[in-house]
């Protein structure tokens, strides 16, 4: 397994946000995490990336315990994140936002500036603009490109379609096959269930800090998902 979590918990002060999450991501796999607002999806990604720290064994990457590593060390191992809300650096141009993604870890792998510009050609035209001067969809492209620049073996994407127009979402998802073709595993957090089912190899549904359903899109039916998502029978 590329990544595993074992009984992963997380809290914000007194508030417990995750109650023992067991998750596994295989090499090259595309896993979608769905769940309502506040289910704990972002918290799960923040725990994996080391923004929230844990007991070492709660997160395993390529067989090594990484639960207690800080975010910069986790990233250097090859886990890259497209954070919720894109989080571009306002002081950096589009190109600098991309470059900084590959600054510490980059090197060997297919993804570099040119490859990103080929994936999202509009970014080449806008490369001198401040990152935050772009439209929401273009900013999302920068955030994805920035994460790819480190040539990770695991890419975590938190709500890449949030707040974007349908055509823009389609453009962004059109890049997913090319990203996966380079061999990396992708975890997408997605509120659009139909979208998640159509792109993922496997789907995990979360509710109130727990995993309530897991399976391949073919295995899951609407009633099951509805129950797992909202916590009631359809």
């Amino acid at each position: 397994m590329l990544l595993q979590t074992h009984g992963l918990t997380a809290s914000y002060g007194q508030f417990k946000a995750l109650f023992g999450i067991d998750l596994a991501v295989a090499k090259g796999e595309c896993l979608a995490i769905i769940g309502a607002n506040g289910a704990g999806k972002t918290t799960l990604l923040r725990s994996i990336t080391g923004v929230l720290r844990n007991a070492p064994g709660m997160v395993m990457h390529r067989g090594e315990a990484i639960g207690d590593l800080p975010a910069d060390r986790v990233m250097q191992r090859g886990i890259a994140m497209v954070p919720e809300g894109r989080k571009l650096f306002p002081s950096l141009s589009v190109e600098e936002n991309l470059l900084i993604g590959g600054q510490v870890r980059g090197g060997s792998g297919p993804w570099g500036l040119e490859a990103i510009y080929d994936l999202f050609p509009i970014l080449r035209e806008r490369r001198r603009s401040p990152g935050t001067a772009l439209s929401g969809g273009q900013q999302q492209m920068v955030a994805i490109g920035r994460a790819l620049m480190s040539n990770p073996d695991l890419l975590l994407c938190d709500e890449i379609s949030l707040g974007l127009a349908p055509v823009v979402i389609r453009d962004i998802y059109a890049a997913l096959p090319r990203i996966r073709a380079s061999g990396m595993a992708v975890v997408i957090v997605e509120q659009d269930i139909a979208r998640a089912l159509s792109v993922a190899d496997r789907v995990v549904c979360m509710m109130e800090g727990r995993i309530t359903l897991e399976g391949t899109p073919a295995q899951l039916n609407r009633a099951q998902i509805h129950a797992a998502y909202f916590g009631e029978a359809a």
């Binding site: 990336t49 080391g50 923004v51 800080p70 975010a71 910069d72 990233m75 250097q76 890259a80 994140m81 954070p83 989080k87 650096f89 306002p90 002081s91 950096l92 600098e96 470059l99 900084i100 993604g101 600054q103 510490v104 870890r105 920035r146 480190s150």
Partner: protein
């Protein structure tokens, strides 16, 4: 002509203030840390240079070159092991720590070097002057101003042309997202304070060569530096130079009218700029 002369002297004096302020501006710009011990660190670096000059018989400029890496290491360690621990949402803890550091540095220097006034000897350079279109200017003030401009150009090049500078700006924008890029914000802050201490060494060189200093003068130098940074707009290095020049010109103009008004005129200029532009001359859009 006398007025032109006065303004030119003021501009050159502003270079010295900008040198005092550049390190402060750098650290504030990157980590929103106000270092109350900045002035004392300049004095400490001046003592270090003086020790090298007297102990090894070195030229002051060469001594500063040797002192710079030592000061970088000092800044790096200070940030890594003390200041990083108190940086956070609350701005009070770092203020208290650097205030304590200021007191400790002053007393430490008093123990080590006594309260006597010192000066870094530079020989004939001290009174050397050149004539520029009818105005006589001292070589030392000219050199100081040139160094201030050079320091700011180099810092801007680092900021906007290097990978380290990119990491400085990204970390300043958002340390959590920077860490998701594999950057260790604490390491970046340590580099920034180390770099600021190199600038402090350059400021110390000119402070020590151009005026007498003793362990107690740090806080007074800090005030000019603060005023320059605030007038310029927090975090803008060219703004800091402009701020230094405004204070310098106000001081020499004030002194030309009445010698007792020199210091007061600088502070009044500071207040006037703040009344007209509360966020300084070149505020960063983000803040």
């Amino acid at each position: 002509m006398i007025w032109v002369d006065t303004v030119v002297q003021g501009v050159l004096l502003g270079g010295l203030y900008a040198l005092f302020a550049a390190g402060l501006s750098l650290v504030f710009g990157i980590m929103r840390l106000v270092n109350l011990a900045h002035g004392d660190m300049i004095v400490a670096a001046a003592f270090l240079i003086l020790l090298l000059v007297q102990g090894l018989g070195l030229n002051p400029f060469l001594a500063a070159l040797l002192a710079a890496p030592a000061m970088f290491a000092f800044g790096w360690l200070l940030q890594r092991f003390i200041l990083n621990r108190v940086l956070g949402k609350d701005i009070l803890p770092p203020l208290l720590v650097t205030f304590g550091l200021s007191v400790a540095l002053q007393n430490g220097m008093l123990e080590a070097f006594s309260a006597d006034s010192r000066r870094i000897p530079i020989g004939p350079l001290e009174s050397a002057s050149v004539s520029l279109g009818g105005i006589t200017v001292g070589v030392m003030p000219l050199l100081t101003f040139g160094s201030a401009v050079a320091v700011i150009v180099v810092l801007n090049q680092i900021f906007y042309r290097t990978a380290l500078g990119r990491a400085f700006r990204a970390t300043s924008d958002d340390p959590v997202t920077a860490s998701l890029m594999g950057i260790n914000p604490r390491g970046i802050f340590a580099m920034a304070t180390g770099l600021a201490m190199v600038v402090v060494t350059i400021a110390a060189l000119y402070l020590g060569m151009r005026s007498n200093f003793d362990p107690s003068i740090g806080p007074a130098r800090l005030i000019y530096a603060f005023e320059a940074v605030i007038i310029g707009g927090l975090g803008s290095l060219w703004g800091t130079l402009a701020g230094g020049i405004i204070i310098g010109v106000a001081q020499t103009l004030g002194a030309a009218i009445n010698p007792e008004w020199q210091i007061l005129a600088g502070h009044i200029a500071f207040l006037v700029v703040l009344v007209i532009r509360p966020r300084g001359l070149f505020p960063r859009a983000l803040d």
